[in-house]
């Protein structure tokens, strides 16, 4: 009893201390929930992540389960969304496939944000030839068509999901570097950066403590929205035969597998396609909502 009271008073004290922060937070949350689309996006994103985490409990059939008697079978009570060309249960495969998509999405975004931030901040902060050199490198990457460069890299490394992730990270980071660079360029001219310098802060300190926290909100938005398009690209690469192998529980691969049976068993390609559509839409709506609360200029 007494410990609960103690805890309560601790929480109260914490809330008093951080009153303005809590108010600001509440305001943002309220703003976010005002937009129905953003809420739908949030629900989809959370649902997707939960499905990926609890896949073993949710999927009715184990990973790689197959019944060759049921090849191309139509949806039934036992197999809600039907069976694919090797007899796997499509519903289970979509659930298992969410793990792959999530992994690819987060891995690629993580690598891109890290690398892009590093390059972008250094280029913008030091300027001059450093900037020139780094930005020409990003130009080279951006000059290639996105998907073609991905395919070239996967072709060179050999197909497989890991290589697809590596290829996509290599191809995607330059746009992050550009975004960060633009942010830092405007922020490093602000008075408070000069003020920080005038009190003796080192370059490193200025970059990490003063520039980064102020330039990060567009990155959060960009990476949320990118999660969706990265999953699509990964699916596209699998679709053209790079990445996941035949019969693997990967959404893009499942669409390819069903391609030949499109007329007599349309469910094989349709349901994984819908899964991609919904998840990608969810991330985009969520990203839009985030942008509305993170960008004060968009606030009304």
């Amino acid at each position: 009893m007494e410990t609960i009271a103690k805890k309560q008073s601790f929480i109260n004290r914490w809330m008093e201390k951080n009153d303005s922060r809590i108010k600001e937070w509440r305001h943002s949350v309220r703003l976010f929930f005002k937009s129905p689309l953003a809420v739908i996006g949030l629900i989809i994103v959370i649902g997707f992540i939960l499905v990926a985490i609890f896949a073993p409990m949710l999927a009715p059939y184990p990973l790689n389960w197959r019944d060759f008697a049921l090849q191309n079978a139509a949806p039934s009570d036992a197999h809600l969304l039907g069976n694919e060309i090797y007899g796997g249960d499509i519903f289970s495969m979509i659930i298992w496939g969410s793990r792959t998509s999530l992994l690819i999405g987060f891995f690629v975004v993580f690598v891109c944000v890290t690398l892009g931030t590093l390059v972008g901040v250094i280029a913008a902060y030091y300027g001059g030839w450093v900037d020139e050199a780094l930005m020409r490198v990003t130009d080279i990457f951006l000059a290639f068509p996105y998907l073609v460069l991905c395919m070239v890299i996967v072709a060179a490394l050999g197909s497989g999901l890991m290589n697809v992730m590596i290829a996509m990270a290599i191809v995607s980071w330059p746009s992050y570097a550009r975004l960060i660079r633009g942010q830092v360029l405007s922020i490093k001219e602000r008075n408070y950066i000069e003020a920080a310098r005038s009190v003796g802060a080192s370059d490193w300190r200025i970059m990490t403590r003063h520039i980064l926290p102020n330039s990060f909100s567009p990155i959060i938005v960009q990476s949320t929205m990118d999660l969706g398009s990265i999953m699509i690209t990964a699916a596209a690469l699998s679709f053209i035969g790079m990445g996941a192998g035949p019969g693997e529980a990967e959404w893009g691969r499942m669409i390819t597998d069903g391609q030949s049976q499109l007329l007599n068993a349309p469910w094989i390609s349709t349901f994984p396609g819908l899964a991609i559509l919904i998840v990608c839409l969810g991330f985009n709506l969520f990203g839009d909502g985030l942008r509305d609360i993170l960008d004060p200029k968009m606030r009304r």
Binding site: N191, E194, S198, G200, A201
Partner: protein, 328 residues
């Protein structure tokens, strides 16, 4: 004469722009004594702020560069110090107050965080102690409810409050020299008076020297012990505050003081002005930079740069009209 705290000799700062080299400072000489308040006045673009930024070496390259001169502080030439040592001096021995307090704080941290950061940077103190010191400093600058202000974000405070916080931050490591670059320009008149009073009071308690940059002769008269008048990258006259108003000597200073509107100016009299425009500092006039606008210009003014001539006790002028006086 009191001890010299900081001595600037022949400082030349240039900006290398696409259209040409802007010769922003053309050999500044200035001594700042311990415990004094020295003012720099001049019109926009005459190099006041560049002087201030040069002292703490915040001129950004590119495009700016300090090409010549020396700035001696504590027996060391600041211009030759490695960056790391310079960072130890900034905020610790020499600190600066900026023109617009609203932009001089990082919007993502609280005021207290930012003051504590400076304290932790220069004194080996723990976060908690630094935070206590920060509140102490805020209290010192006369902020009511310093605990609340310390926890506020910059956008939650008014300009006057922020400038007080800025002063608290600048003084938090007990600097020997405080550079105030137009500290009240962005504030309204009543707040301006409060901030000036505060700075005056703090000077007597901390004993720091203040380099006050402004274009307001009124502020100079109220705050300063000595004043340097700047024109187009030169200090043209240096004197005690009293003598500059009583006996302005350089034609530019005379022009400036005549241009102050007074209550007894007849309504039919037009306000006195200095004819002409500020020169483009990419192509500054040869010789004395003021000669094209000067009503007392002589032939030699366009050929040679005048030296320093003494016209009174501690009163020096850079103009050939006073060549008869003692050389400095």
């Amino acid at each position: 004469m009191a001890d010299v705290l900081l001595s600037i000799k022949g400082l030349k700062t240039n900006f290398y722009t696409y259209t040409g080299v802007v010769k922003a400072l053309d050999g500044i000489d200035l001594d700042i004594y311990k415990g004094e308040t020295i003012g720099l006045v001049g019109e926009t673009g005459c190099g006041k702020s560049v002087t201030a930024l040069s002292i703490i070496r915040l001129i950004q390259w590119p495009p700016g560069k300090i090409d010549e001169g020396s700035i001696t502080f504590d027996g060391k030439d600041l211009l030759k110090l490695p960056l790391r040592d310079m960072q130890k001096i900034r905020g610790n021995n020499i600190s600066m107050i900026f023109q617009e307090p609203m932009n001089a704080f990082n919007p993502v941290y609280t005021i207290g965080d930012q003051i504590a950061e400076v304290i932790m940077l220069h004194q080996k103190k723990k976060k908690k102690e630094a935070w206590q010191d920060a509140i102490e400093m805020l209290k010192f600058t006369g902020i009511p409810a310093p605990e609340r202000v310390a926890k506020s974000y910059p956008h939650e405070l008014s300009g006057g409050m922020l400038q007080r916080s800025m002063i608290a931050m600048a003084l938090s490591c007990k600097p020997k020299l405080l550079i105030a670059d137009e500290p009240t320009t962005a504030l309204d008149v009543t707040i301006e008076a409060q901030i000036l009073d505060l700075m005056k009071g703090l000077k007597t308690t901390t004993g720091a020297s203040i380099l006050l940059i402004t274009h307001d002769l009124g502020i100079i008269a109220e705050m300063c012990d000595r004043v340097g008048v700047m024109y187009a990258g030169n200090i043209v006259e240096l004197a005690d505050v009293g003598s500059i108003y009583k006996k302005p000597s350089h034609p530019y200073t005379v022009g400036l003081i005549c241009a102050i509107p007074t209550l007894d100016t007849k309504h039919c009299n037009r306000l006195a002005t200095i004819p002409g425009n500020v020169p483009n500092l990419i192509y500054p006039p040869p010789g004395c930079r003021f000669h094209p606008r000067c009503n007392k210009a002589m032939d030699r003014c366009s050929k040679e740069k005048p030296g320093w001539y003494k016209v009174g006790e501690g009163h020096y002028v850079s103009c050939f009209l006073y060549e008869g006086g003692d050389k400095k």
